[in-house]
Symmetry: C2
Subunit: 405 residues, 2 copies
Amino acid sequence: MVIVQKFGGTSVADLDRIRHVTGRIAQTRAAGHDVVVVVSAMAGETNRLLALAHAAAREPDERESDALVATGEQVTAALTSLTLQDGGVPARSFLGHQVRIETDSAHGRARIVRVDVDRLRTALADGAVAVVAGFQGVDGQGNITTLGRGGSDTSAVALAAALQADVCEIYTDVDGVYTSDPRIVPQARKLDRVAYDEMLELASLGAKVLQIRSVEFAKRYRVPVHVRSSFNEVEGTWVVEEDPTMEQVTVAGVAHDRDQAKITIVRVPDRPGIAARVFGPIAGANIVVDMIIQNVGADGSTDLTFTVPRGDYDKARRLVEATARDIGAQGVTGQTDVAKVSIVGVGMRTHAGIAARMFEVLSAEGINIQMISTSEIKISVVIDEKYTELAVRTLHDAFVARAET
Amino acid sequence: MVIVQKFGGTSVADLDRIRHVTGRIAQTRAAGHDVVVVVSAMAGETNRLLALAHAAAREPDERESDALVATGEQVTAALTSLTLQDGGVPARSFLGHQVRIETDSAHGRARIVRVDVDRLRTALADGAVAVVAGFQGVDGQGNITTLGRGGSDTSAVALAAALQADVCEIYTDVDGVYTSDPRIVPQARKLDRVAYDEMLELASLGAKVLQIRSVEFAKRYRVPVHVRSSFNEVEGTWVVEEDPTMEQVTVAGVAHDRDQAKITIVRVPDRPGIAARVFGPIAGANIVVDMIIQNVGADGSTDLTFTVPRGDYDKARRLVEATARDIGAQGVTGQTDVAKVSIVGVGMRTHAGIAARMFEVLSAEGINIQMISTSEIKISVVIDEKYTELAVRTLHDAFVARAET
């Protein structure tokens, strides 16, 4: 088999852990598999390098920041390769431009456009383990790019896709994907399997186990992903294609996301083109708007409410206040202590009445729902942040723990 | 003018020093020049990374070590570029593979085979400062290579040659090239100018101001090199083509090198092919032999003595002992507390009797000369290490201080 193994920052935090990891790699290879390893920077290293960039420049240029932070993975790749060799395992390290992993030029959040694995195949054919620096690529002009937080997951899955690997193992510091955050819900349990679509929703909803783009890649190229702990041998969670048995479980998990803020434009005149006037400048500032709701009043005016990441709240609010004046709205209000809580499951497609039951359960606890957003396999609500834990526990009790019995 | 400015590790040791350096770069640019900057790793960083490599593997693979240590210059290049930008100076960083600086595949001591400066020219045409990571290149297969200790000097001069730069400024923590080591000879004075050939001898003799290969490059492509301090504005030493006035000074400087050890094979049978048998294995182990002397005795047997860098003594001695047994020599002796002291000057070509005077001067101080080696513009002697300072001072008094008057 061809196996891609990705090790995150805590798994390669120092030489002792790297040695532990290389033992695992050696085991896999000794079992007769071809192994491609993808490594992150040692824990803390990316932040240290970013702090250096911010000490050097008030607004660090993204091209230069990428060249700087990419050294983190380069160091780990070389050290992992050296440690493997020291243990008698042939190994070669590869950087983004050596593999080569070509991306667009969006520094700091680049997207992979092409992966060439010829050199990796040659290394495997030579009996070596190929150790690839994650998180980094190179654009068409040879500039070093990085893929954003969690980007090494995407490096690993993209390589697994290009290599048509049998599995992409994501080693991390948790045992797998849980039905909810175990720090909030003690009864949360590890999922044995989760469908790509479910994982996409969970990833986008703040269950920070996998970078969302890695899941998109896995889904598109049908790469089986196995999320597991690098600290034990326990089976983790398989992220795989949906199959009929999955639909028997209505709700796979309950996720929450505190990185939310809400902005309302009060009494927006209801004219065509207003939405573009409001959201154009926000998009232009690279702020991602999540939910949007609009209430049209009897007098033809509207309240327009939307959510943004909390860190972008001040900037978004300034932009919106300018727009509100221009379009003659009454004013702008906002709230930063909100959270999003969601239930996710492919079973929702075939089970009716889930939304109604969700609202009922929350209402019974006195939790006011401020905004609602739904997809085929997910229902999200925005609530006061202080109710986050209560909402998550209540929904887990009602939907997930129940599915067990 | 096109000016290449190279800053060594102590000049970019931390962000404060980098800021100081970028001030200097900005000044040069403000004076209307095109500036290409070459940076070393922050002081101590290369050693830290090498220590990591040695902690990861008992005998670190050189390809992986190169990938590891090359991050040092990558970090400085990005930080220098960011700091320039923060000061309002457009700048772009370039790594070895981006420039591109192509080398052979001799990891850890690679030699530059080709330099392509198109991307640097584009950056200059855009009005930007090009900041190049020194010390590193890439071989024909895209593997990262490094040029050995002091390799950033060679990066700088090679780029200056390719760009046909007007000057290559080497910024360091000393004011220039001295007639001798000021720690030993208080009267040592800075040379205003020194010929390439003199600098080649001085560099190879342990005056560690410039990597010797950078001087070879400078000589071959007639690049004027200006060695000066990054901590003040004083004119340093120009390394330039020889001109007739230089010959008026017999001895430009007195150098010494303690990194010496001596090995003697006693009573080597005087047969053809013996030298190859002795030195073949040593060359095979990448040990550089410096001086060799051979005394043929009346009985047709020979004592063969040669010097190697002190760090290679044990390895060389083991190899030589094996050879000595094979060829039927009587035995092997060795000494690690020797030093080489040399006088250098293009004027020696036209001044007779320098060697005789040198031996006389040393003998008058009771210093025994163990080995002698000469070139057109240099005379070196190997002596007991304990006499190093005395020999250097005596020779400086006799040849250099005298030339002043």
